[in-house]
């Protein structure tokens, strides 16, 4: 028996339907798979291309030290990558302006000409145009075809170049927008996410370049400006003044240099501290800058091609103004007046009000100058001349000042030779007790310069030059050592002859202020005492009041120190300088020396009153007194009557060379051996 087949009556139509659905599902599955694969391929491709682009942009950013160098290449890379028609950049100036930096790229300059022209050299204010909107909002903006055709401010130019879309991007450093990038395309900008990703990363690289550029500019600025006042420093001033000098016409006229020094600045520093000094400098710089700007503005109103001034701080309290393009001496003089006026109002330091004065030296360029440094030196000299007057003010360099300078410089050079070749010699002027027996009590060592051509030169002929040239320290040291040596030798001989120590003559040695205020001075004195073996008690160091004026604290310290070793101290030229009683009270002196000018005018009762007062004062302070410059017997007698114990002068004994001077105290038989 044949089994019946299963009743599978295939419905052909249904099967076809099923198969068609199956095919359709397969088809759709394939399409989906393709779409997924295509998306992956597309993303892979785009990220590869984008990475390559960013690599090129990063390389470019790493190579470039300045923005203008990098921006052109970055714009080109982005435009080529995006297939955009035109790219340009704006630097942000201040807070509200995007200024075209005339950097742009287009593959078709001729076709894009109208838009390039409408864009380069443009400035957009915040909110204005596409760059202005990016600037205002600090985020990207897109402009599509519709907006481009209706409200875009460069729409005519854009339309004539076939532009259909535009976008703008900020370049940010932290929260600060520093640059705006703007791109135009002749097609719609579709994949905004991809564009954003790419341009944002390019912007980051550009921001790095700008940051580096800023760091370099800051370094450069620091190198060329004074950090405290923000003014140009010596380096920048030198650069500018050299450039200005090189531009001068053949007549070399048109440049003026003003050297300005603050009077009383050191006293403020000493009294209130460096912080106060800094406040004074900063305020002074501010007022100078204001005055200079006002002067320049003022003259520009009358003449459009006026002078230009550069103010610089070149040293502690020294400022320089270089005036370029001046006609005649008036502008510099006027400016000097303005600077002095601007410092008339006191400067506030915390609760105190202080005043500083100015010494200003001016020099004008002329045919005699071959370098700006010479001009500067002459202005310096004029400033010192102004300062030496004591009350500041303005001095313009003149030929006679120049002659003086040349003479002084020649003298300085000769003095250098003299120090090297030991052309100095010491003379000794005896100092006597003014009593009946007129006993010789000591000598004052006085320097003479045994000039190879001029013969013996008195100190007045070279000490000022030595002081100005800083040579006084060397000369002073030589005097100190030489005098101590000679005195030690003398004492040795006298002691050998049986003279009691109490009868030995002392040596009085002049110490210049510069020498005295050297930080190593007291140590140096100690060394000389040790090395020469002179008795400290028989050494008197004479300083003038000037020392105490310059630095009272240090003066007191040094005086105390040398006195602790037994050395005596003497205040020279008393009565001529500031003669402040407070100095006398606070400074440890043993002796006062009445200045020769009072002795010379002793006929005048006024002088006698002063001498009387000095003697009373000295007596009260327990100081011995030596009268200098006694030239007549009468003067000597009168001083003795007034109670002055000691004196020196031509009448008593002229300064003599060592042998002759010491002969005064050596026994007859010994003199030839001196």
């Amino acid at each position: 028996m044949k089994a019946e087949a299963l009743p599978l009556t295939p419905d052909a139509a249904a099967t076809v339907e099923r198969l068609e659905r199956l095919v359709q599902r397969e088809r759709e599955g394939r399409l989906q798979a393709e779409a997924i694969a295509e998306r992956g391929l597309r993303e892979l491709y785009e990220s590869q291309v984008r990475l390559a682009l960013l690599q090129r942009i990063t390389d470019c950013a790493n190579r470039s030290n300045n923005f203008s160098e990098a921006i052109g290449e970055v714009l080109k890379e982005i435009c080529e990558h995006m297939n955009w028609a035109f790219g340009t950049a704006y630097r942000v100036e201040g807070e509200a302006r995007a200024v075209s930096c005339d950097a742009w790229y287009t593959a078709e300059p001729a076709r894009l000409f109208p838009l390039v022209e409408a864009t380069r050299e443009r400035t957009f204010h915040s909110g204005e145009g596409l760059p202005g909107r990016v600037l205002r909002d600090s985020h990207p903006h897109w402009i599509d075809e519709g907006e481009l055709a209706t409200s875009f401010c460069r729409r005519v130019a854009a339309a004539s170049c076939g532009i259909r879309s535009a976008c703008g991007f900020p370049v940010m450093i932290a929260d600060e927008i520093v640059c705006v990038l703007e791109f135009f395309a002749r097609t719609a900008m579709i994949d905004k996410d991809a564009i954003l990703l790419t341009v944002t990363q390019a912007s980051t690289q550009l921001a790095r370049v700008i940051e580096r550029e800023r760091a370099r500019a800051a370094l450069l600025h620091d190198a060329l400006h004074d950090s405290m006042t923000g003014l140009p420093n010596r380096t920048l001033l030198d650069e500018r003044s050299r450039a200005a000098f090189d531009r001068l016409p053949e007549s070399r006229s048109g440049l003026a240099v003003m050297v300005i020094d603050l009077d009383g600045f050191k006293a403020i520093n000493d009294k209130y501290g460096h912080h106060a000094g800094d406040i004074v400098l900063i305020e002074t710089a501010r007022r100078f800058d204001q005055a200079l700007t006002a002067s320049m503005d003022n003259q520009r109103r009358t003449s459009p091609t006026g002078w230009h001034g550069t103010l610089a701080r070149v040293g502690g309290d020294e400022f320089v103004v270089v005036l370029d393009g001046v006609r005649g001496p008036a502008p510099a003089m006027d400016l000097a007046g303005a600077l002095i006026d601007t410092l008339k109002a006191p400067i506030r330091i915390d609760e105190e009000l202080v005043n500083v004065g100015l010494s200003i030296g001016i020099a004008h360029s002329g045919p005699g100058y071959t370098t700006v440094e010479q001009l500067r030196q002459d202005a310096d000299l004029a400033m010192y001349e102004a300062k030496s007057g004591g009350h500041g003010g303005v001095v313009t360099f003149s030929e006679s000042l120049g002659n003086e300078r040349r003479y002084r410089m020649a003298l300085e050079n000769e003095l250098r030779d003299a120090i090297r070749e030991k052309q100095f010699t010491l003379f000794y002027q005896p100092i006597f007790a003014l009593g009946e027996d007129r006993q010789l009590r000591g000598f004052e060592a006085l320097i003479r310069w045994n000039h190879p051509r001029s013969g013996l030169v008195e100190p007045g002929g070279f000490i000022p030059a030595a002081e100005a040239g800083g040579l006084i320290v060397f000369i002073g040291d030589w005097v100190l050592r030489q005098a101590c040596n000679a005195t030690a030798r003398l004492h040795k001989r006298l002691t050998a002859r049986g003279l009691a120590a109490s009868k030995l003559p002392y040596i009085s040695i002049n110490i210049a202020p510069q020498q005295f205020l050297q930080p190593t001075f007291s140590a140096h004195v100690q060394r000389v005492l040790l090395e020469t073996g002179v008795l400290p008690e028989l050494v008197r160091l004479e300083v003038t009041e000037g020392v105490a004026i310059i630095d009272p604290d240090q003066t007191r310290q040094v005086l105390e120190q040398v006195r602790s070793w037994g050395v005596k101290t003497s205040l020279d030229d008393f009565g001529t300088g500031y003669s402040s009683l407070s100095y006398l009270q606070n400074l440890p002196f043993d002796t006062l020396k009445i200045d020769r000018s009072f002795i010379a005018s002793m006929d005048d009762p006024k002088s006698r009153k002063i001498i009387r007062a000095i003697l009373d004062l000295a007596s009260n302070l327990n100081l011995s007194v030596v009268a200098e410059g006694i030239e007549t017997m009468e003067q000597g007698a009168l001083l003795r009557e007034m109670g002055c114990a000691y004196g020196q002068g031509f009448h008593l004994g002229r300064p003599l060379d060592e042998a002759s001077a010491f002969a005064l105290v050596l026994p007859e038989s010994d003199r030839t051996g001196a």
Binding site: V23, E38, L41, R42, Y45, R186, T187
Partner: protein, 179 residues
Amino acid sequence: MKGVVFNLLEDAVVREHGLLAWDSLLELAGLEGSYTSLGSYPDSEVIRLVDAASTALGITPGEVLRWFGRSAIPLLHERYELFFSPHKTAQSFVASINDIIHPEVRKLYAGAGCPHFHFHDLEDGRTGLAYQSPRRMCRLAHGFIEGAADHYGNRVEIEHLSCMLEGHPVCRIALDWSH
């Protein structure tokens, strides 16, 4: 030829003539017919498919290509809407072929040999389109342009000024969008 072209052709044939028509066409052309958009296939296979369709439908291969181009546009729109949406007119869409569409095609299919269309202004105000390709498929381009016009609701008049199929070195097509 990129597989996507075969897929589009299949879709167009299926849409107009039914599922089995594509199978018949493959049979006529003597082809296996497994095409995926990710692959590349010999140009000759397209030509054999077009020739088979030409024989079956009794129209020239050029007419087949033109029909295919025109029919492919709605299919392309389904697959790649992003190429269409930025444009408001067919003219704008067509103009973007070199700069947008073909670069995009190259992103998907590395090494795709996309033709370059040189657009220029003709003296009579029409747009000139010069095309030169060993595939000599100017009729496909013709169809694409018509399809684009259909899609955007524009009218275009297309004239072949010269044609490689007629022995000219280059195909020159004039487009008149002014209507």
